[in-house]
């Protein structure tokens, strides 16, 4: 097979890639013009038929989501863009926003036209200052050039795009948490239904889409749905619920590799290929003990599972929660899984929004139990206790409003199942691996 040429990342690293002038020279906003020339429903059909599934983590078919909006709604309808990219190890959206903001904005403009929305809000995590400035500059350029505003390209279509900065809370990446936060409230996820498409932002029909999804929409308009569908993996015939994993995908590689970074490849590459062919191999000549397939919420793949294709269906086959954000973190053979799992548990106990008791208490207890183990005071039965707590929290057991706690529980369940002998040895030999920096943070 000929080497894959990046599409979403095609302009990254080129001089002045952020500027409207260079973007238009590369054919920018022609897709938006093309969209304005057809009926909105035709754009929805194009995106639906392309097989595009949301890139934010859940993999819901984008075009199908758009059809959930009420028919002939008088408006307003909102597009809320989830740019709160906070899943640990994930940074693909940041690269798109910082380096090629117009590609993202064009996708947003096309999507707004398709769903008949006149206002898009980009909810951007606060930490992405560079993305904020790049996007704001690009938005200003679009208004000045008549790409946003009233009567765009003489079509009669109007569009406003507003940047809204978050305040460093992971839960704002949950779509209804994001909506609550945008409305000026604490980011407590809403009970669904009603889903945002029926009643979302400001109680109006709302579509929440991810940044990379917007970049895909832009390229589907340019290159066609057939192109998109020619890449990736068709549905698994043995799984009637699999909608296929089509198109290019941005994979993030971080952790113990020689060359961390973000690469674009057709969906379905394996973790081993990512590590060896794109990540420069495991660092210091070591081997990988475990790999996180797509953000820590997805759990762990063990060394024997690295040939699993990273499509929407693959990681689930080896017991992971899913593909997630397709951001792999490589953990080398010298690293303790107890330390890694503690890090994950600490993250979720810090980021649980506190609304649902099983999550607020469960994440805190999992953190405390792992802290106890790492101080050399663990008991073997702690492992079963961790499993019990993890098994009783989340949407899957039906005890919480949102999926944060499923994501908090999954690495616990995966690690204890796949690395149990290591945990047992750690406990029985009375190991202690707490670092001085952790005591500092605990005092905070």
């Amino acid at each position: 097979m000929a080497e894959f040429q990046p599409v979403l990342l095609a302009r990254i690293g080129k001089p002045d890639s952020q500027l409207l002038e260079t973007y238009r020279r590369d054919g920018g906003y022609e897709g938006f013009k093309k969209a304005l020339g057809v009926a909105p429903v035709d754009v929805i059909t194009l995106v639906k038929d392309s097989g595009l599934r949301g890139r934010g983590g859940a993999g819901f078919p984008t075009g199908l989501k758009w059809t959930f909006l009420p028919k002939d709604h008088p408006g307003p309808i909102y597009l809320a863009i989830n740019a709160d990219e906070s899943e640990p190890a994930t940074f693909n959206n940041r690269i798109l926003m910082e380096e090629d903001p117009h590609q993202v904005l064009e996708g947003i403009a096309i999507s707004c036209y398709a769903i008949k929305s006149k206002t898009a809000y980009i909810y951007l995590r606060y930490e992405y200052g560079r993305s904020y400035r790049a996007l704001q500059k690009a938005v200003d350029e679009c208004y000045a050039a008549g790409i946003f505003g009233k009567n765009i390209f003489g079509s009669g279509f109007e569009l406003d795009v507003v940047l809204h900065r978050g305040a460093a809370a992971y839960i704002c990446g949950e779509e209804t948490g994001l909506i609550e936060s945008l409305e000026g409230k604490r980011a407590w996820p809403r009970i669904k239904p009603p889903f945002p498409a029926i009643e979302g932002l400001f109680r109006k029909p709302t579509i929440v889409n991810n940044i990379e999804t917007m970049a895909c929409v832009k390229n589907i308009l340019d290159k066609g749905g057939e192109w998109f569908k020619s890449l990736g993996i068709p549905p698994d015939p043995s799984n009637p619920r699999d909608a296929g994993s089509y198109g290019p995908k941005l994979y993030c590689i971080s952790g113990h590799v020689n060359k961390p970074g973000c690469v674009e490849l057709p969906m379905g590459i394996t973790a081993r290929q990512l590590i060896d062919e794109h990540g420069g191999g495991v660092w210091k000549g070591r081997t990988a003990k475990a790999v996180v397939p797509g953000g820590i919420s997805m759990g762990f793949m063990s060394a024997s599972e690295l040939d699993t294709p990273l499509d929407f269906n693959g990681p689930g086959k080896v017991g992971c929660l899913g593909l997630g954000t397709a951001a792999i973190t490589v953990i080398d053979d010298q690293t303790s899984m107890v330390d890694v799992l503690f890090n994950c548990a600490r993250f979720f106990s810090h980021e649980s929004c506190g609304q649902c008791t099983p999550c607020r208490e469960g994440t805190a207890w999992m953190h405390k139990i792992l802290a106890r183990i790492r101080m050399g005071e663990g008991q073997l039965r702690d492992l079963d206790l961790l499993n019990e707590v993890a098994g009783s929290m989340g949407i899957i057991p039906g005890t919480t409003i949102c999926g944060l706690s499923d994501g908090a529980a999954w690495p616990i369940k995966n690690a204890i199942k796949k690395f149990r002998p290591e945990f047992e040895e750690y406990i029985t030999t009375g190991k202690k691996t707490v670092k001085p920096a952790e005591a500092l943070m605990a005092a905070h």
Binding site: P76, E85, S86, E87, P88, A89, T90, F91, N93, R94, R125, Y126, E127, Y128, G129, R130, Y132, D160, V162, H164, R165, G166, A167, A168, A169, Y170, S181, L182, E183, G184, K185, R186, F202, C252, I253, S254, G255, H256, P260, C262, V292, I296, T329, I331, D339, V340, N343, C344, R346, F347, H350, E351, C353, K435, P436, A437, L440, M441, A443, H444
Partner: protein, 157 residues
């Protein structure tokens, strides 16, 4: 005496046309106030509420959810420096870097250096994992930070 200057009030009011109601301006207003005053006092909360036609408790309810915003007991330094402690940075020395920087400034995470210049904090994933360990200075990410580079960063603030 009012704690929000006329300039700040204007900046907050300038946000109104972007949203269908004023409550949506709570986060932008808190950002503007904290950026300028380095904390959001109870009096500032009252004044924001008045501008947004909300009850002060509604503004405070939102503010207290986001640990990002600090009250008058936690005055921020001129700069906030965050060191990432999440998985990809942890695997490449993020926590040791946090310790190094705290020792350098003689502070614990969450505290401000004696000269009032720098508030040191830990952060959960900053989304710059290809450059782990990563340090965020205000809202600019600095990647692949060694202790030596950290010293340089702190010196230049």
């Amino acid at each position: 005496m009012a704690v929000l200057s006329e300039e700040l009030r204007k900046q907050i009011r300038d946000q109104f046309p972007k949203y269908p109601n004023k409550r949506a301006v709570v986060l932008p207003a808190l950002h503007l106030v904290q950026d300028s005053l380095r904390h959001v006092s109870i009096e500032a909360v009252r004044e924001i509420a008045e501008l947004l036609e909300l009850h002060p408790s509604e503004v405070h309810d939102t503010m207290s959810f986001y640990q990002f915003f600090k009250d008058e007991k936690h005055q921020l330094g001129k700069h906030r420096v965050w060191v990432c402690r999440s998985i990809s940075c942890m695997l490449r020395g993020g926590e040791e870097l946090l310790q190094h920087m705290c020792e350098k400034l003689h502070v614990h995470p969450g505290q401000t250096s004696a000269d009032g210049k720098i508030t040191m904090e830990f952060a959960e994933c900053l989304g710059a994992c290809e450059g782990a360990p990563c340090v965020l200075v205000d809202d600019e990410a600095h990647m692949n930070i060694t202790p030596e580079k950290a010293d340089e960063l702190l010196k230049n603030l």
